[in-house]
């Protein structure tokens, strides 16, 4: 149990340090370099794409169900978002389709 507590503390501290690192380096009065501001502006666009792939990293296209549930649901999310522009609806619709395909079809 003590071991679990120690590891929990370590994981907590490391995560907090990573999340607060840039803020600690650039406290209120220190000017943020132009390069970091540039990255700060461009990164959000790039990271969301990275997270989509990150979520799908363990989908296998070589074995049953060949990634079909994820592919179909992903297409549904994108199409719903294009035609309805309502994120909640897109997320809900895609998830329900994925659950249906995983549980009832494959």
């Amino acid at each position: 149990m003590n071991r679990a507590a120690a590891i929990t503390v370590i994981m907590s501290v490391c995560t907090i340090l990573l999340r607060s690192g840039p803020f600690l380096l650039f406290s209120k009065d220190r000017e943020i370099p132009r390069y970091l501001l540039f990255l700060g502006e461009k990164l959000p666009r790039a990271i969301i794409g990275m997270l989509v792939i990150y979520c799908l990293r363990s989908v296998s296209f070589a074995a049953k169900p060949w990634g079909i549930p994820e592919t179909v649901s992903l297409a549904a999310v994108v199409l719903l978002q294009i035609f309805r522009r309502n994120s909640l609806l897109s997320i809900l619709g895609g998830t329900v389709i994925c659950m249906f395909l995983v549980q009832a079809v494959f």
């Binding site: 679990a4 790039a46 969301i48 997270l51 792939i53 979520c55 994108v78 909640l88 997320i91």
Partner: protein
């Protein structure tokens, strides 16, 4: 005078209430995913021999999904503290990115310590979008708090209810993918320049193919930074 003060207070309360409501609606897409993934974590931790207090502490103080899942095997496998620290840094290195891109928005914000602590993948994707650009610090604080509470609720629920769930939730973890895919599409529709979005997507995909599903994230972050830097230098913005 008294009436005037009352009106003022009611106005402020009303405004706060509206923002809390709006924050709750904004956070809703995260709820299902966090409760389910949190429950999954609680169940696994329970099966590994650690109960509700451990689950609660980890959800409250670590608040990072993939690291907590990795943490279970660290704890049961008897990993050293150094090993735990290295794993934490590798698994959560992407959080550095979030902080860098929120530097401008959060640097002088109210509730700054909590906003930074609670900057998970999902909270980041909700609050870094253009839609949230003009929102108040209080709104960001409430979105962060709602998301955190879903995660804690899930982890505790999993530990307590364990395997007694009455229905199958298989496939519900897709809600996280759907959240990111929806915000990717929304950004795509509202942007004219798609260079950064394509850079993120293609670099990560290539790194996944080259490095495999266990080790691709850090190379992907390096490649994304390098490509963005190169493009920025080329067009002269840095």
């Amino acid at each position: 005078m008294f009436l005037h003060a009352c009106r003022g207070i009611i106005f402020v309360m009303n405004d706060r209430w509206k923002q809390i409501r709006k924050a709750w609606i904004t956070s809703l897409p995260v709820m299902a995913g966090y409760v389910v993934l949190g429950t999954g974590f609680g169940i696994l931790l329970k099966n590994a021999g650690y109960g509700v207090w451990c689950s609660l502490a980890m959800a409250l103080f670590i608040y990072a999904g993939s690291l907590q899942y990795a943490g279970i095997s660290l704890i049961t496998g008897g990993a050293s503290l150094l090993n735990a620290a290295v794993t934490s840094v590798i698994v959560n290195a992407r959080h550095l990115f979030y902080s860098i891109s929120m530097l401008g928005k959060y640097r002088n914000a109210e509730y700054k310590p909590y906003l930074i602590f609670a900057l998970t993948d999902e909270t980041y994707s909700l609050l870094s979008s253009d839609a949230a650009a003009d929102e108040t610090d209080f709104f960001c604080f409430m979105v962060s708090l709602f998301n955190h509470s879903y995660w804690v609720a899930g982890c505790v629920l999993g530990s307590l209810a364990g395997s007694f769930l009455p229905f199958s939730t298989e496939g519900i973890e897709f809600s996280m993918t759907a959240l990111f895919a929806a915000s990717f599409t929304e950004q795509w529709l509202s942007d004219r320049d798609h260079t950064a979005a394509l850079c993120g997507l293609i670099s990560t995909l290539l790194c996944l193919l080259v490095f495999g599903s266990e080790n691709f994230l850090i190379p992907a972050m390096l490649v994304i930074t390098a490509v963005l830097t190169f493009l920025g230098k080329k067009e002269g913005s840095i």
